[in-house]
Structure formats: structure tokens, C-alpha cells
């Protein structure tokens, strides 16, 4: 691969040479060469599962590479744990918050290098002063340093996380989707901070899925795909389309199955009227028809997840009506949602903790939800169970050596297929999907798109939340854009374009009227 080399530029601050990492049989990184410089913001791009998070974890010392070497300012280094990376000035703001909820904000900010007083004890006053300074620096003067982190709203927590990172005097700061939960005001603030850090000569690695953030911030971009470093180029030298092309590595047009042509709207199966829950859902109304795939769009965290959980009976204290086939059926638990007369299924957000029992076998996972129907008398009917499982394995083309193997041994894509198989066995009429293609390889994604369309064609109603705009465009018959717990726009047919989705996601006034990409 070609790498840009500016003559006279300072040598790279961080350099990875031939780095590879495997998890079990899964190849996460393969022979990656990567470098980043001081005084620049370096965007790392790639689909989920492209190897970005493994790259970060290796740089931050969370995991160790199987092969290859890391050089920092020209010196070869190894990081056995995050502590060692920290000592070299590498600080990471992880996607999953690395805050300790029971500790105070000040304790969190000072956790790795607290000011010490006499006897080596933590100087609480000094720590608090420093926390206040750092909070002020990120524009969070309203956060009391004594407050427990657990009591803060998510957006404040993320700002605390950033303040904590700044407090560790980073030389190399890694931001992994660090703005996903922020309000737009906070995002602007973070931009300012990052730009000033760049002026101070820091090396910044920025991981984000949001193209406009990359365009606004990055000096250099690196694209990863399937665990390989594909290309590195100066920002602004490629169009968004070209970048996307690099990320997915193929033409987009053929990925999605054809959408059916409809002359009249399908018969409604799921109807939701004025659904409310705490401050997350503020009066959502929607309809999903028979055989329809309805997408949920919008920025992350606008109530999409809560909507799906509310429909599935997980949330307590919801208001509003949920109708199935015209009858009120607000489930009080997933067990009720699963029943025949409601017939719902939820493919949850996190397949590792919510979808699967990782140590249990593939077979046991697949039959779990439908087990109540696979019995004769009090006992599980082994033949019926095996037949059902094999039917699903064949139907979804799940690649599995032995059905008795733990499901943890499967690849991400096949694991997700197991979750879906589990629910297909219950023969659901309403399928709720919560970002099901995260961390799944491209091939499996295509199979899933086809599967969803097949299910819809067979009469299922599908409500599909995804953070990937392409999927909304390619898969959905209609797309509902959520903003602040409300449906702000419904897109249909040819109106489902990236421009329209982005514009209405930001809830700009007059969104989608005449904007061009």
C-alpha cells in the first residue's frame, strides 16, 4: 500500500509496523502498518469489525499484538497493560465509558495520577481543585466534582470522561466514538478543545462514524477494512463517496435486495399511539404494516433503543397505546411479548450480553426462546428440538462445526445469526431489530438484508433500528427519523436519501427541502 511521505515533516510520533492480532480463530488485525504525527488530528475510518477497536486497544495497551512492533517517537516499546501505555502519555477515551459510577467525579478524574499530600495520601482538596479546572476546561462548570458519576446524565458523563483524559497530560489522545452521546453544544466545545490540543502539538487519533465530524476535524485519514490498513491520505483529497467506497470495498448498489412495489399501504399490524416513557420517549406514534420493513433513523440516542424496549415490555411506566392487529397488547415482559397473540421478537443491541448465553451450546441458544413449544409432556422433545435447530441452521446458513460447541466459538456474524434463529423459531409476526449488523462482516450483512426481506415477504412486520444510514436507504420501505424521543419525519420511497436522513436527523428547520450532498 502506498503511504504519503512528506519531505521535511517531523518523524511520526507513533508507528506500528506489521501488527497482527487474532482472537481465537478470528483475525482482527493483519499486518497493519500505521503511523501518526504530532500536531495533527488523524481520523481512523472503517466499518464495524474493520479492526479499528483492536488497533486502539493495542495502542492503549489493553491487548497485546501477536506480531509486529510499536515505536513511540522512534523508540521501540511494548505495553503489557494500560498503565504502561499511560506512562508514555497515551490516553484513551473509550467508546464504552471507562468511568467508575460509584466514585465521585473528582475521584474519577484523578484516578490514575491523583495529587498526593503528606504520607503519599491523596490530597482531596487539590484533587477537587484540579477536577474543577478540568471540568471548566471542557465547559462543564455545572458538574459538581463531589457528585457520584452514576447520578450524572450520559452526556455529562462523556464530558467527564474527556476531562479525565485531559487530566492525564496526554501526548497521544485517542477518541473512540467519544461524541456519540453529546449534545450539539458539547460537540462544538469538544471540537474547540481538540483543535487547541492540536495546536499544542498533541497527536490525536479520532474514530467516528460521522462523516461530517471527520470533514470538520481531520488532517489525515486512514481507512481500515477487514483487519487490514487500506489507505492513508490527507483529508480533503477524497470525496465522501470515495471514502465509503474504500471502507466497504465494493459497489454499494448490489448489496440490498429489491424492495417490493406497492400500490396501496399494507394492512397495519403494529400500531403505536403517543408512546411516552420518562424523558426519553415523548409521544411516539407509528404503524408497521404486514410485510413492511420500517426503519428507525436519527442520531444515536434519540429514543430508538427505548422505543424497541418499550414495545417489547422491558420498560416500566410507559404511557400510550400499543396495538397488535387492532387490539391493545402492551406486553408487560418479554415473556408476554413472545406469546402467540402478540408474536414479537427482539434482536437486542448487544448480542454478547443480551442475545446469547456465550458458554452454552449453539443448539441450546437456538432453541431457548421456543423451548416451551418443543415439548412432549413435561419433557423437551429431543427429536423435535434437533429438527427445529437443524432447520434454522440450514435456513440461515449458520457456519458451525458442531452444534454442541459453545456459541462463543462462532464468529460475530454467525453469532448474530444464532440470535435471529432463536427468534425465528418462535415464528414472530413482529420483528424488532436493534442495530443488528454491528461488528458483522459484509457477507453476513448481505445475507441478513436478504433474510429480512424474505421475512417481510412472508408476512412479518419489521421495525429496524440501525446506526448505518446505508441500511436505512437500502433495506427499508419507510424510515422514521427520531429526534428527542419523537418522530420528526417519515421518509418514503425515493425520499429515503442520505441527505434527507442526515438533515432531518439533525432536526434542522426546513430539513431536506433543497439540500444537496
Amino acid at each position: 500500500m502506498f503511504r504519503t511521505k512528506d519531505v521535511g515533516a517531523p518523524p511520526p510520533f507513533l508507528e506500528l509496523v506489521g501488527v497482527s492480532k487474532r482472537y481465537g480463530g478470528v483475525r482482527a488485525l493483519e499486518g497493519v502498518d500505521f503511523a501518526c504525527r504530532r500536531g495533527s488530528i488523524h481520523a481512523v475510518l472503517g466499518e464495524n469489525g474493520a479492526g479499528k477497536s483492536t488497533l486502539i486497544k493495542i495502542i492503549a495497551g489493553v491487548v497485546q499484538p501477536d506480531e509486529g512492533s510499536i515505536r513511540l517517537a522512534g523508540q521501540q516499546v511494548t505495553f503489557p497493560d494500560p498503565l504502561a501505555a499511560n506512562a508514555q502519555g497515551i490516553v484513551c477515551i473509550f467508546q464504552e465509558l471507562s468511568l467508575m459510577p460509584d466514585l465521585s467525579v473528582a475521584d474519577n478524574i484523578g484516578i490514575s495520577n491523583p495529587p498526593r499530600g503528606r504520607l503519599g495520601l491523596i490530597d482531596k482538596r487539590a484533587q477537587r481543585r484540579r477536577a474543577e479546572e478540568l471540568l471548566a476546561r471542557v465547559g462543564c462548570e455545572d458538574v459538581n466534582p463531589l457528585e457520584r458519576v452514576a447520578n450524572l446524565p450520559l452526556s455529562r458523563r462523556q464530558m467527564v470522561e474527556i476531562a479525565k483524559a485531559l487530566g492525564r497530560d496526554p501526548k497521544l489522545l485517542i477518541l473512540d466514538e467519544a461524541t456519540s452521546a453529546l449534545t450539539s453544544g458539547d460537540v462544538a466545545k469538544v471540537y474547540e478543545i481538540l483543535k487547541s490540543l492540536r495546536r499544542d502539538g498533541l497527536c490525536l487519533l479520532y474514530i467516528s462514524h460521522r462523516m461530517h465530524e471527520i470533514e470538520a476535524l481531520a488532517d489525515t485519514c486512514s481507512v481500515f477494512r477487514n483487519g487490514r490498513h487500506i489507505d492513508t491520505f490527507a483529508a480533503g483529497t477524497r470525496t465522501s463517496d470515495e471514502i465509503v467506497q474504500l471502507m466497504i470495498g465494493r459497489e454499494m448498489a448490489h448489496v440490498y435486495p429489491d424492495k417490493p412495489q406497492r400500490n396501496q399501504p399494507p394492512a397495519p399490524v403494529l400500531e403505536v399511539r403517543d408512546l411516552r416513557w420518562t424523558d426519553r420517549l415523548n409521544g411516539i406514534s407509528l404503524t408497521v404494516g404486514k410485510g413492511e420493513i420500517v426503519g428507525l433513523g436519527g442520531l444515536d440516542g434519540q429514543g430508538q433503543r427505548e422505543l424497541l424496549l418499550a414495545l417489547f415490555g422491558v420498560l416500566r411506566g410507559t404511557e400510550g397505546e400499543i396495538l397488535v392487529d387492532g387490539r391493545p397488547r402492551a406486553p408487560g415482559s418479554p415473556a408476554q411479548a413472545k406469546r402467540k397473540q402478540t408474536g414479537m421478537a427482539l434482536i437486542p443491541e448487544d448480542r454478547k450480553t443480551e442475545g446469547l448465553m456465550l458458554p452454552m451450546s449453539v443448539a441450546e441458544n437456538i432453541s431457548l426462546a421456543a423451548l416451551g413449544g418443543l415439548v412432549s409432556g413435561p419433557f423437551i422433545d429431543r427429536e423435535k428440538e434437533t429438527a427445529a435447530i437443524e432447520r434454522m441452521v440450514a435456513k440461515l446458513r449458520i457456519k458451525v462445526g458442531d452444534l454442541a460447541d459453545p456459541v462463543a466459538t462462532l464468529s460475530g456474524g454467525n453469532q448474530q445469526k444464532v440470535v435471529i434463529a432463536k427468534w425465528l423459531l418462535t415464528e414472530p409476526r413482529i420483528v424488532l431489530l436493534n442495530d443488528p449488523t454491528r461488528g458483522i462482516d459484509v457477507g453476513t450483512k448481505q445475507e441478513l438484508y436478504q433474510l429480512l426481506r424474505d421475512l417481510a415477504d412472508a408476512g412479518a412486520s419489521i421495525l429496524f433500528y440501525t446506526t448505518d444510514y446505508d441500511e436505512l436507504i437500502g433495506c427499508c420501505d419507510r424510515v422514521l427519523i427520531l429526534y428527542d424521543g419523537r418522530v420528526v419525519r417519515t421518509l418514503e420511497g425515493a425520499d429515503i436519501t442520505e441527505t434527507n436522513i442526515v438533515a432531518s436527523s439533525l432536526n434542522l428547520p426546513g430539513a431536506g427541502a433543497a439540500a444537496t450532498a
Binding site: 492503549a60 489493553v62 497493560d81 494500560p82 498503565l83 499511560n86 484513551c92 473509550f94 464504552e96 465509558l97 471507562s98 468511568l99 467508575m100 459510577p101 460509584d102 466514585l103 465521585s104 475521584d107 474519577n108 484516578i111 490514575s112 491523583p114 498526593r116 504520607l119 503519599g120 495520601l121 491523596i122 482531596k124 459538581n144 463531589l146 457528585e147 457520584r148 447520578n151 479525565k164 416513557w277 420518562t278 427505548e306 424496549l309 422491558v314 420498560l315 416500566r316 411506566g317 415482559s333 443480551e354
Partner: protein
């Protein structure tokens, strides 16, 4: 005001325990014929010291999200060691006391190593080490007995005046300046000293805060550069020290050692109850030793009231159990306020 609100909010469990204790203890003293007297206080302090120490011992591992089922056993082991070594010349006694505390600390260290290096679940690892410690205690003291220096025993289990009187200090404890504080029970003072000199410094050390961080979110703590192994080992070791302190005191109090297996188990179970009543979460991360001290005192104060109301002491478990269940059920009120049921599930 805001700050006060935050601090109160973070110590609700402790406040509840203090309130419960004060209620029970005030009732006890007002009904006691010699209530609110120094004699009663000294006696109560004596009877409370061991369970308080064991509750403190339990707290530290629990803060990491672990558990120590061997605290009662360590206490018993040190009790038996003390009944052998705490006598003779003053220097020998001092050496004996140091040895006792060292044995407790070492036992805690072993727990920590088994949990951290052996990667065993704390509950089962300490169950096993507890059996070993009890076994060692039985080796040392197959039947109850032993000998603890009488002067020392007397001096440390009475009030401050007696302490000085025993060793002929400050005009046999009759010095005028001493009068206002001569009534203070020595065990109470020892406990306060331990909290001030051992617990608070630990809590404010980097390791101590690491203990809280691990209990709150181990993964996040690791990412933040907290030294997980060191903090966990330190937690169990400090627990061992506290339990050893309890064992040593029991020896002073009874002037003997007794490898009483059921008693050890009872102390362990009570220590867990005290920790919970004191507002420390069994998941770790919140609470602290001071809460557990009051948790233990609540359990004791209930027992005191039994004497006043002339209820058979044998009925005590029923009330202990009911108080424990009531205390944890107050925490359960949260369950019904949670709006997202997933938050209740691990």
C-alpha cells in the same frame, strides 16, 4: 447546601445504620437501671469490639466486589495464637501482640493471593482457607484454655482510668486533668484509633481508592490504570489485619483461646449482615468500614435490648434476621422505582 445534599445522599446507608443504632441504644440505656453510665458503656464496648472488628474485616473485600468467608476463622486463629503468646515480660507481650496482628495480616494476604493469583472465586476460596485457619487454630488450642496476661487484659478491657491505674501511670489514673476522660472505655478508643490511623489513611491512599474503583467497575478501573492485583490483595490483607485485631481482643476479653468452630461461622455470617446493614453494597464500590461498625453495633444493640426486655437470648437470631431482612428490603424499594427492567439484571 448543594454539597451537603450530595454528601448526605452518598451516605444514606451509613446514616440509616447510625439512626438504627442510636434508637436501639437509647432505648436500652433509658430502660437500664444504670443506663447512661460509664460502667454500662465499658461493658457494651467490650461486648461489641470483636464483632465490630470482624465487620470491618469483611467490609474491605466486599468493597472490591468480593467476599471473605474466612474472617471468623482468622479471628479464631488469632484468638488461639494470642492465648499462647500474649504473656510474660512486657517485651514478650509486645512481641506477642505484634505476632498476633501479623498472623491475621498474613492470613488475609494468603486469601488475597489465592483469589488474585489462583484466580478462584472469593466466596469459595475463602471458604476453603477458612477451613485451614480453623484447622490451625485447633492445632494450637485443641481445647479451650491458655493464658493471657491478667494486667494487660484488665487494662485494655476497662476504662482509661483503669488502664493508667494498672500500670501506675498519671498518679494511677487519678490525675485531675485526666478526670474528664477517665471514663472512656479503652476498646472504644482503640477502635477510634484504628479507624483514624489505619482505615482513613487507607481509604485516602491510591490503593484504597483503587479498591472502591474495582468494586464499582473493574473493567473501567483497569482501563484507568488502577493496579487491580495490588488493590485486591491489599483489600484481603487489610481484612485479615482487622480480623486479627478482633481475635486478639477476644483473647484479652476472655483471657483464653477457644477454637470454637460454630462461633467462627456465626461471626462470619454476622459480619456480612453488619456490612449490609451498614450500607455497603455487596456488589462493591460503595460504603465503607465506618458504616459496618455501626452495622455491627446495631446487631449488638439489639442483643442488649434482649437483656433489658428479658427476652431469652436464644430468641436473638429471630430479631437479628428480621432486622437484616428489613434493612435489605428498604434497599429493595429501589427495585420498584427502576423504569428499565434491564437495569436490574446483570
Amino acid at each position: 447546601m448543594n454539597e451537603l445534599r450530595i454528601r448526605l445522599g452518598q451516605n444514606l446507608g451509613l446514616l440509616l445504620a447510625v439512626l438504627l443504632f442510636l434508637t436501639f441504644y437509647l432505648v436500652y440505656n433509658s430502660l437500664h437501671p444504670r443506663g447512661f453510665s460509664a460502667t454500662v458503656l465499658v461493658q457494651n464496648a467490650n461486648e461489641s469490639f470483636v464483632i465490630v472488628a470482624v465487620a470491618m474485616a469483611q467490609t474491605v473485600p466486599v468493597l472490591t466486589g468480593g467476599l471473605d468467608l474466612s474472617v471468623g476463622a482468622i479471628m479464631t486463629l488469632v484468638n488461639c495464637v494470642a492465648s499462647v503468646v500474649v504473656n510474660g515480660s512486657p517485651l514478650q507481650m509486645l512481641g506477642g501482640i505484634v505476632l498476633c496482628l501479623a498472623v491475621g495480616t498474613l492470613a488475609g494476604l494468603v486469601n488475597g493471593l489465592v483469589v488474585v493469583v489462583g484466580r478462584l472465586q472469593p466466596i469459595i476460596a475463602t471458604l476453603a482457607t477458612g477451613a485451614i485457619y480453623i484447622g490451625l487454630a485447633l492445632f494450637i488450642r485443641p481445647s479451650p484454655g491458655g493464658n493471657v496476661d491478667d494486667d494487660l487484659s484488665w487494662a485494655l478491657t476497662n476504662d482509661l482510668g483503669e488502664l493508667f491505674a494498672t500500670y501506675g501511670l498519671f498518679e494511677d489514673g487519678e490525675a485531675p486533668w485526666l478526670a474528664p476522660i477517665a471514663w472512656l472505655p479503652v476498646p472504644l478508643l482503640v477502635m477510634v484509633a484504628v479507624v483514624l490511623l489505619v482505615w482513613l489513611p487507607f481509604r485516602n491512599s491510591v490503593t484504597g481508592r483503587g479498591v472502591y474503583a474495582i468494586g464499582s467497575a473493574e473493567g473501567a478501573a483497569y482501563m484507568s490504570g488502577v493496579r487491580i492485583a495490588r488493590c485486591k490483595i491489599a483489600a484481603y490483607t487489610l481484612g485479615g489485619f482487622f480480623a486479627g485485631l478482633g481475635g486478639l481482643y477476644l483473647a484479652l476479653q476472655t483471657s483464653s483461646g477457644n477454637a470454637d468452630v460454630p462461633q467462627a461461622a456465626q461471626y462470619t455470617l454476622n459480619s456480612i449482615a453488619a456490612v449490609v446493614i451498614g450500607g455497603t453494597s455487596l456488589m462493591g464500590g460503595t460504603g465503607g468500614v465506618v458504616g459496618s461498625i455501626f452495622g455491627a453495633l446495631v446487631i449488638r444493640a439489639i442483643a442488649f435490648n434482649f437483656r433489658i426486655f428479658e427476652i431469652e437470648p436464644i430468641m436473638q437470631p429471630l430479631f437479628e434476621g428480621l432486622v437484616l431482612l428489613a434493612a435489605v428490603s428498604i434497599g429493595a424499594a429501589r427495585v420498584f422505582r427502576v423504569k428499565n427492567r434491564l437495569e436490574l439484571l446483570g
